[in-house]
């Protein structure tokens, strides 16, 4: 058992994001966390990262209570482009994952440099690792962020919309990196997204948050018209077409819905 949340509840003021949440994530499992904006997906990640405390219930990593800054968790943040003025090359961004938490004179050790090079090779970024980070494309930056997240040899990878604003080819490339990592190292992946389609083939289970409630199960169990209609409390259509899932609802909080062109 990598991650275990029991009777978890979280809210802001008098608004409950979710309550009585029970979640278990096994080694090598790929869990997609879905739901509309404001349903508490990112707050769930922040809870697992120890940046936010549960209002009730418990959260454990490998059987121990969650604490902040746990280096056994790798974190791939929402894709935000680093500006051209950033004084870093690709290699340096990855190196921050290896020794960026360490105080002391900023002289890097040979072993750390080698580790960074190894991580860069692992995500196939060797070709552009020495270019200024601000001049790299979104896809290239995101591969480097995955490399950075793998620096601590994590047992759990938390990804917050890591594919946002990437083109299809790069979406596939980054998703494959995550998938390879969990197959080869049994790393569990918790993947927050508003669009499950780029990773639909990889997902073992889905946690769908909406309306202060949730459903959990395999994609086939959760991504169904009757289940989501019940969750949203209004009619929702789930259409499966050409290997894609499209959630269509004539309601405002399903604005994550995406109609295939």
């Amino acid at each position: 058992m990598i991650l275990e949340i029991e009777h978890g509840a979280l809210g802001f003021g008098d608004r409950t994001l979710w309550h009585d949440l029970n979640l278990r994530v096994e080694p090598g499992e790929f869990l997609a966390v879905l739901g509309p904006n404001g349903s508490g997906k990112t707050s769930l990640l922040r809870t697992i990262l120890g940046m936010q405390r549960l209002d009730a219930g418990s959260a454990r990593l490998l059987g121990e209570p969650i604490r902040g800054g746990d280096r056994r968790i790798g974190y791939v943040p929402q894709q935000k482009i680093l500006p051209p003025g950033t004084p870093l090359r690709g290699r340096d961004l990855v190196a921050l994952g290896v020794d960026g938490h360490r105080f002391g004179l900023p002289v890097s050790r040979a072993a750390d440099r080698a580790r960074a090079a190894e991580l860069i090779a692992e995500v196939g970024a060797t070709g552009y690792a020495d270019r200024p980070i601000g001049r790299l494309s979104g896809g290239e930056q995101q591969r480097l962020r995955v490399a950075q997240a793998l620096a601590g040899d994590p047992v759990l990878l938390l990804c917050d919309e890591p594919l946002l604003s990437l083109d299809l080819q790069n979406q596939r490339g980054v998703a494959e990196l995550l998938d390879r990592r969990r197959r080869e190292h049994d790393t569990a992946v918790v993947f927050v997204t508003h669009d499950v389609n780029p990773v639909l083939g990889l997902v073992d289970r889905v946690l769908y948050l909406a309306n202060g409630r949730f459903r959990e199960g395999t994609p086939d169990e959760v991504l169904r018209s009757d289940v989501l209609s019940d969750l949203y409390g209004t009619p929702v259509d789930v259409i499966r077409t050409g290997g894609r899932v499209v959630v269509v609802g004539g309601l405002e909080h399903a604005h994550h819905a995406e109609v295939a062109p």
């Binding site: 990262l49 800054g69 280096r71 968790i73 960026g100 938490h101 105080f103 900023p106 980070i133």
Partner: protein
């Protein structure tokens, strides 16, 4: 005829700006000031790299105005001016650090603090009965007028900042690039940020003494901004920035020494010229890179 008419006033101006009579003797008198300026140039250039990355140029300006108020208050009440300047800067840095975690909050807090500080400083100066040279010096720099003991204090502070900055370098760099990930990776981001504000406050207080409250940015922002134009290497940028700061600060004093004008304009002009040159170099680099791309395509 014409050259003679023009040459008269121009010669005067030239003599006012540059004069190298008795240069050796003058140099011996101000060698401690030059040392202080050199160290400040280096520290300013180094911390400037983070000022740029953390988007804090406006914060530097805000801190310097409160530092000015503190120094002016000390002048009025007969206290140590450097100490007054330190108190002002540290209060401002702490307020900005504690209340302005997000960029938007920060800018509004600075916008509120800055005119208050400047106004307070002007009030203190207006009440101050002493020489007006002292008054103007706080706004536009007075390094030569700083006495020996205080120079020692300034140098000590600058060396302290340099040492702490090197020790927190990596976590600070991580926090500057991506605070969320840094926190997730175990960097005590809040402590690091507050420590950085403390160092910034100290650096600004020293700069106010040397270059003046209004011109602090010339040593804390311009060198780093120039360095970032020509490199992205995490090693080359700080080295260049320190070099630019050093050349501006020391070059400014050396050029100003013989003339009768204040030092600050020399420092700001050198630092601005370096920035312009770096922009030109950047253009040339870009042009070359584009041509290479076209050639290989």
């Amino acid at each position: 005829m014409i050259p003679v008419i023009v040459a008269g006033p121009l010669d005067d101006l030239w003599d006012q700006m540059f004069s190298f009579e008795n240069y050796g003797r003058l140099l011996a008198l101000v060698q401690n000031s030059i040392l202080a300026a050199a160290i400040l140039g280096i520290v300013g250039g180094l911390i400037g790299v983070f000022v740029m990355q953390r988007d804090m140029a406006f914060a530097v300006h805000g801190i310097s105005e409160l530092s000015f108020a503190g120094a002016a208050g000390a002048l009025l009440f007969g206290a140590n001016v450097v100490a007054g300047s330190l108190v002002g800067s540290l209060i401002a840095a702490a307020l900005i650090g504690l209340l302005g975690a997000r960029a938007r909050d920060r800018n509004s807090i600075i916008g509120v603090l800055m005119p208050f500080g400047l106004g307070l400083g002007i009030l203190f100066l207006a009440l101050y009965p002493g020489r007006s040279g002292n008054k103007f010096g706080l706004l536009t720099g007075q390094i030569i007028a700083v006495d020996f003991d205080q120079l020692g204090l300034l140098i000590g502070i600058a060396v302290f900042v340099l040492a702490v900055l090197l020790v927190i370098w990596r976590p600070l760099a991580f926090d500057s690039v991506d605070p969320e990930v840094a926190q997730a990776r175990g960097v005590p981001t809040r402590t690091v940020s507050l420590l950085f504000m403390l160092l910034l406050g100290l650096t600004v207080a020293v700069s106010v003494q040397i270059i003046g409250a209004l011109l602090v940015l010339a040593l804390l922002v311009t060198p780093a901004a120039a360095a970032l134009r020509v490199s992205s290497s995490p090693l080359v940028v700080p080295l260049l920035s320190m070099g630019f700061g050093l050349v501006s600060a020391v070059g400014g004093i050396l050029l100003a020494l013989g003339g009768s004008l204040p030092i600050s304009p020399y420092i700001t002009t050198i630092s601005f010229a370096i920035y312009l040159v770096c922009r030109v170099i950047e253009r040339a680099q870009r042009g070359r890179a584009t041509r290479r791309k076209v050639a290989t395509a």
